[in-house]
Amino acid sequence: MGEIKIKEKEVVVPGEVLATGMDCLPSYGTYRMGDDIRAAKLGLVRIEGKVVKITPLSGRYLPKRGDTIIANVYDIIMSGWLLKFNSAYHAMLSMKEATSRFIQKGADLTRIYALGDYVVCSITNVTSQKLVDVTMRGPGFRKLEGGRIIEVNTNKVPRVIGKEGSMVGMIKNATNCRITVGQNGIVWIQGEPEMENIAIDAIKKAEAEAHTDGLTDRIKEFLEKKLGKKIDLREHAPERRESPSQEHGFRNEDQGFRNQDNQDQYNDQDDDQQDDQNQQSD
C-alpha cells in the first residue's frame, strides 16, 4: 500500500523521498525510482489524491505558448525584432506580428520599436530547439512607455498576481499605479515616483513571502502602514471584464485607457511614416 511521506506544502530538496508504493503517481517535478517517488526540484509538495507534484520555488522562465510576457528589444534584423525576456532563449517578433498597421518596405524599424524598448507580447510558438515567436497583434499588447521595470522570480508570478488578480489589483488601487505583470517575471510599474517605490516594495515583499500563508493580509497591512490609510479589500474585488490573456495569469490595465494609448501611438507612427514618405518624395 502506498504511503505519502511528506506533508502538503512542505519544502523538499532534490532526491528527497515524497511517497512510496506503486499506487502513488509522480507528476510535475518528481520522478519514480524503484518504489519511491522522489523530488526532482527544490519546491513545495502538492498532493492531489494519489498524485504527488512539486511547485518549484526557483528556476528561470521557460517559454510556453500562450504566455503573455514583457520583453526587451535588443536587436533589429531585416525581418523584425529580437527580444530578450529573462530566459535562456530570445524571441523573434516578425514585422507581420508587430503591429496591425502597414509597414512600408525598407522602413526604419526603430521608429516602431527601438533598441531598449519594452513591449508586452504573447508567445505564439516554441519549437523543440526553443526558437520563440511572439505576436503583438491583439488587445493589451503594446510598447511600454515611461514607468519602471522590475524583475521577480517567474515561479512567484501567480502569487504576485493573486487569485483573479486580487493581489496586484490591491497594489494598483492602493498606490494608484499602472502595473503590468508578465509571466516571465518582468513587471512594469508606472505612477507617482513615491507610489512607484511603495508598489515595488509591496511586490518584492509578495515575492519574498510567496510561499507563506495569509499573504494578502500581510501585504494589505504593509500598504496601510506605508500609505497611512485604510484599504478596503472589497474595493479591489477581482474585475470581471478580463481579456483572454488573463487566463495565463497576466493582468491587463484599464481597457479603455490602453486602447486610447495604442491609438495615439499608432497615430504618432503614422505621422512619422508620413514624414518619411514626404522626405523620400522630396
Binding site: V11, V13, P14, G15, E16, G29, Y31, M33, R38, A40, K41, L42, G43, P56, L57, S58, G59, R60, L62, A88, Y89, H90, S128, Q129, K130, N155, H211
Partner: protein, 233 residues
C-alpha cells in the same frame, strides 16, 4: 611512530570537521551557496540556464554544464595563489563538472549553458569537495532539475589509520605514508561520481576508507538539505 591522535584535535579518525552551509547568499546569481568545512570555505554561484556563445559549443539536445573552480589569491596558508586558471584549477573544474552531471537533467534547455562559479576565499585541504558540496546546493537553489544532491568529502589514510576529511596538516604529514582520496556520492543510490587519489594506499585500506566515507557523506547530505530548507523558513 604511528599516527595516534589527529593533529587538529578531532577525537575520532572518522570525524568530520565542523560544517556549516547556507543557500541563496548571492542575490544576483540564479542560485548560490556557501559551504564551510573546518577552515575550508567555498562559495558557489550558478547562472543559467542562459544563452551559450560561441554557437559551436551549443548542444541541440541539452544544455551544457560549465564549472569554474578558483582559489582566491589569499586563500592558501602559504604563498599567494596566482589567480586565474592553471593546470590544477582546470583539472578540478573538469572533475567537478563530471561529478555533478550525473544528477542533472538539462535536456529541457537545449543549446543553453549552466555556469557554476566556485570561489574559495580560504582553504585548508578538501577544497574540491567543499566546492562540489556548495555547487550542488547552489544548483538546487537555482531550480535546475536534478535527480539528487551530490555530497563530497575526502577520505584516505595517514600512516596506519584510515581517516575522513583530511586537513592540510594531515595531508602534509611527513612521518609516514599518506593517501588523499576525494570522493563524491549521490546519496539516493550510493553511486560514486568522483574518485581521485593522491598517495599510496592498499586495496583493503581503500575499500575501508570508501565505506567509512559513504557513511560520513550522509551527514553532509543532511547539512545540505537543511541549508536549502532554512532559506524558505
Amino acid at each position: 611512530m604511528a599516527y595516534t591522535k589527529r593533529l587538529d584535535g578531532r577525537k575520532k579518525f572518522d570525524e568530520l570537521r565542523p560544517i556549516s552551509a547556507k543557500a541563496g547568499i548571492i542575490p544576483r546569481a540564479h542560485g548560490s551557496a556557501m559551504f564551510q568545512i573546518g577552515k575550508t570555505i567555498a562559495y558557489a554561484a550558478v547562472y543559467g540556464p542562459r544563452e551559450l556563445h560561441p554557437k559551436f559549443m551549443q548542444n541541440p539536445k541539452t544544455a551544457i554544464l560549465r564549472c569554474h573552480y578558483s582559489m582566491m589569491p589569499f586563500s592558501g596558508s602559504g604563498d599567494r595563489v596566482r589567480p586565474g586558471p592553471n593546470r590544477r584549477s582546470k583539472e578540478i573544474s573538469m572533475v567537478t563538472e563530471k561529478s555533478l552531471l550525473p544528477v542533472l537533467d538539462l535536456s529541457q534547455f537545449p543549446n543553453a549553458v549552466v555556469d557554476v562559479f566556485i570561489e574559495l576565499p580560504q582553504t585548508d585541504a578538501g577544497s574540491r569537495c567543499a566546492g562540489i558540496c556548495a555547487a550542488s546546493i547552489a544548483l538546487a537553489d537555482a531550480g535546475i532539475p536534478m535527480r539528487d544532491m551530490v555530497c563530497a568529502v575526502s577520505v584516505g589514510r595517514v600512516d596506519d589509520k584510515i581517516v575522513v576529511d583530511l586537513d592540510y596538516s594531515e595531508e602534509a604529514y611527513d612521518k609516514g605514508p599518506v593517501a588523499d582520496v576525494p570522493m563524491a556520492m549521490i546519496p539516493s543510490t550510493g553511486e560514486i561520481s568522483l574518485l581521485q587519489m593522491d598517495g599510496e594506499i592498499s586495496k583493503e585500506q581503500l575499500i575501508e576508507a570508501l565505506e567509512t566515507g559513504k557513511q560520513k557523506l550522509l551527514e553532509i547530505y543532511e547539512v545540505q538539505k537543511k541549508a536549502l530548507k532554512e532559506k524558505y523558513k
